[in-house]
Each structure stands twice: as structure tokens, then as C-alpha cells.
Assembly symmetry: C2
């Protein structure tokens, strides 16, 4: 009988789909095996264990995620870029909740060698902020604040922590608006602040 043609890569893709259907916790060796019409033991030739399987899903989703954001902010700067970034971020997270959840997990360094996801993510994020003219260490602080806010918003929304969807959309817009104002009024760290303490 025809073989399923398993690959670590194909498992990651199927795992990403599964994640959107069943949550990141729902990506499981046995369910994935079931979908490929294969015994669960067969997956262990391509993947060390469940942990690695999930990390591959994370890696795959993170690539998709940052690419869709990069596409959205291409050719934009300043507030335009911020809004595009934010909207693309949220759109992906809402369209692919499981994949997005995957991106929030750590990946072992050894699995990262040879990939550019990390670098792309950093470049895209810092690039989006360029027009605000922040310099280190403010830039890093601002990036952290933005990542935190976006992630926190999506996490709360996904968890049902908010009310009406329409309302959430407007709150999000106003939150992004507020972040724009914040970036323009960013409290600089020049005076009376030690850099390494």
C-alpha cells in the first residue's frame, strides 16, 4: 500500500492545521498519525518526540506569521506602518489561533540553526519603528512594550476576556492609536538614568 510520505516538514504543516482546529495542546502524536493514516509509532522516525513536533509547528507558524506582517508593512512608515503591523498581527492571530498560540512557545536553539525566522522577526519589528527615531536602549524598550501589548490583547481576546467583538475591534484601533501617541511622546532615557544597573 502507498506510503504516507511523512516528513518533519509535512508534520509541522499538518500540526499547524491541527493546532487551529484543536488548539496547540491538541496537536498530539496520535491525532497526527491518525490523520496520515499511520500508526503513531511511525512518527518517531521523523520527529524525536512530542516536544520537538510542537516546536516544529512553532517554527513553521512563526515564519508564516512574520511573513504576513512583513508583507503588510512593506512600503509603509511611521503610523501607517504601526497600524499595518498591528492589524496584520491581530488578523493572523484571529484567523489562526492555534498557529498563533504556537508562536508564543520557546524553541530549542538547535532547531533554529539554519533558519532566519528570528532575524526576520527582529528586522521587521525594528524596521516598523524606524520612523519614530528612537535610539537604544529606548528602541528595545519600545519593542518590548509593543510586543507585550499586542500579545496581551490577543491573549485576552482569545481567552474571551473581553466583551462584544465589534467593541473589541474599536478598542484595538484606539489602543493602536494610543501606542502611536506614546511612541511620539516616548520618555527618553538620557538623564539621571544608569544604563547598566
Amino acid at each position: 500500500m502507498a506510503r504516507a510520505g511523512l516528513t518533519a516538514e509535512r508534520l509541522a504543516v499538518a500540526g499547524a492545521e491541527l493546532a487551529d482546529e484543536a488548539g496547540f495542546d491538541g496537536v498530539t502524536v496520535s491525532e497526527l498519525a491518525r490523520r496520515f493514516g499511520v500508526k503513531d509509532a511511525s512518527l518517531y522516525s521523523h520527529v524525536k518526540n512530542l516536544r520537538e513536533l510542537r516546536q516544529r509547528v512553532t517554527l513553521y507558524a512563526a515564519g508564516e506569521f512574520i511573513d504576513s506582517i512583513a508583507a503588510a508593512i512593506a512600503g509603509r512608515a511611521g503610523k501607517d506602518a504601526l497600524v499595518a503591523f498591528a492589524d496584520a498581527y491581530r488578523a493572523y492571530a484571529l484567523a489562526h489561533p492555534g498557529r498563533y498560540a504556537a508562536t508564543q512557545h520557546q524553541v530549542d536553539p538547535e532547531l533554529l540553526v539554519g533558519t532566519t525566522v528570528l532575524a526576520r522577526t527582529v528586522d521587521t519589528t525594528y524596521g516598523m519603528l524606524r520612523a519614530y527615531g528612537l535610539t537604544e536602549p529606548d528602541l528595545t524598550d519600545a519593542v518590548r512594550l509593543l510586543r507585550s501589548t499586542f500579545h496581551g490583547y490577543i491573549a485576552l481576546e482569545a481567552e474571551g476576556g473581553f466583551g462584544h467583538p465589534r467593541e473589541v475591534q474599536r478598542s484595538w484601533d484606539r489602543g493602536v492609536q494610543a501606542l502611536h501617541v506614546l511612541l511620539e511622546h516616548w520618555p527618553r532615557s538620557e538623564e539621571g538614568e544608569k544604563d547598566d544597573d
Copy 2:
């Protein structure tokens, strides 16, 4: 032989401790039974299933959490209150990672009847912002933004998404500082903005 004296409440407390040691995913019926020197089947007299057990942990942790924050901001207002809120928030999350993780999960409404956790949380949060003089719907938007930012920051920090701990502390301080500025410059929603669209 002496009975263990199990209770839904005692299970929740023990579950909270277990969560800090083994993560929220680590709170498990069998491990908890082991700690009480009891067979796992025995827990099902006090708790419907694993799901309910974890929700009780969530509820317990959420109470602890909001109480420690409320204590921290008592008698403060404006920026003082904001900073106290933020620091208490992060301190609890770092001291009790598992409990904090628990607070981010949903609880079935039926389990909420008779408790005041939700109301206390809302009151404390809105109270903290009172001095900034925001009115609805800006107030709700601001609360959402703050919750998001705080949660996002802790989530990223816990996940190891940041670098050096010292650095994170300073970034956090500056982030809170920035949020204070933001609240003072909050873009009001009076003009040119539809309320229900």
C-alpha cells in the same frame, strides 16, 4: 487509618502550589492524589473532573492575585497607583508563575456564583485609573490596553522571550513610565468617532 480530609477548597490550594512547581499543565489529578496520599479516583468525590479542578485553582489564584494588588495600591492615586499596580502585578506573576498562569484561564460561570473575584478585579482596576480622569468608553479602552500590556510583558518574560533579568526590570519600569505618559495624553474619542460602528 486517618483520612486525608479532602475538600474542593484544599484541592484548589494544593493545586496552586503544584502549579508553581510544575506549571499549570502540571496540576494533574494523579499528582495531587499522590501528594495527599490518596488514590486518584478519590478526588472525583470533590471535583467533577480535571477541568473543574484547574478552574478551582484559577479561581483561588485570581483571588490571591487581586488581593495582593489591591493591598499595594491602597491609599495611592495617579502615577503612584499605576506604578504600585504594575509592580504588584509583576511581582506576583514572577513569585507564583503557575498561579499566575492559572489566572489567565477562563472559568465556567457556574463556578463563579457566590464569589466576588470578578467584581473585586474590575473595581480595583478601574479605581487605579480614577485619577487620570478618563470617561467611558475611553476608560474601558485604557483598562484593556493596560491589562494587555501587563499580561503580555509577563507572558513574554516568563517564556524567556527577553534577555537579561536586570534589563527586563529596567524595561518594565520604563514601560510603566511610558504608560503613565500615555494615560495623560490619551486620545479622547469625542469627535469624528462613531460609537457603535
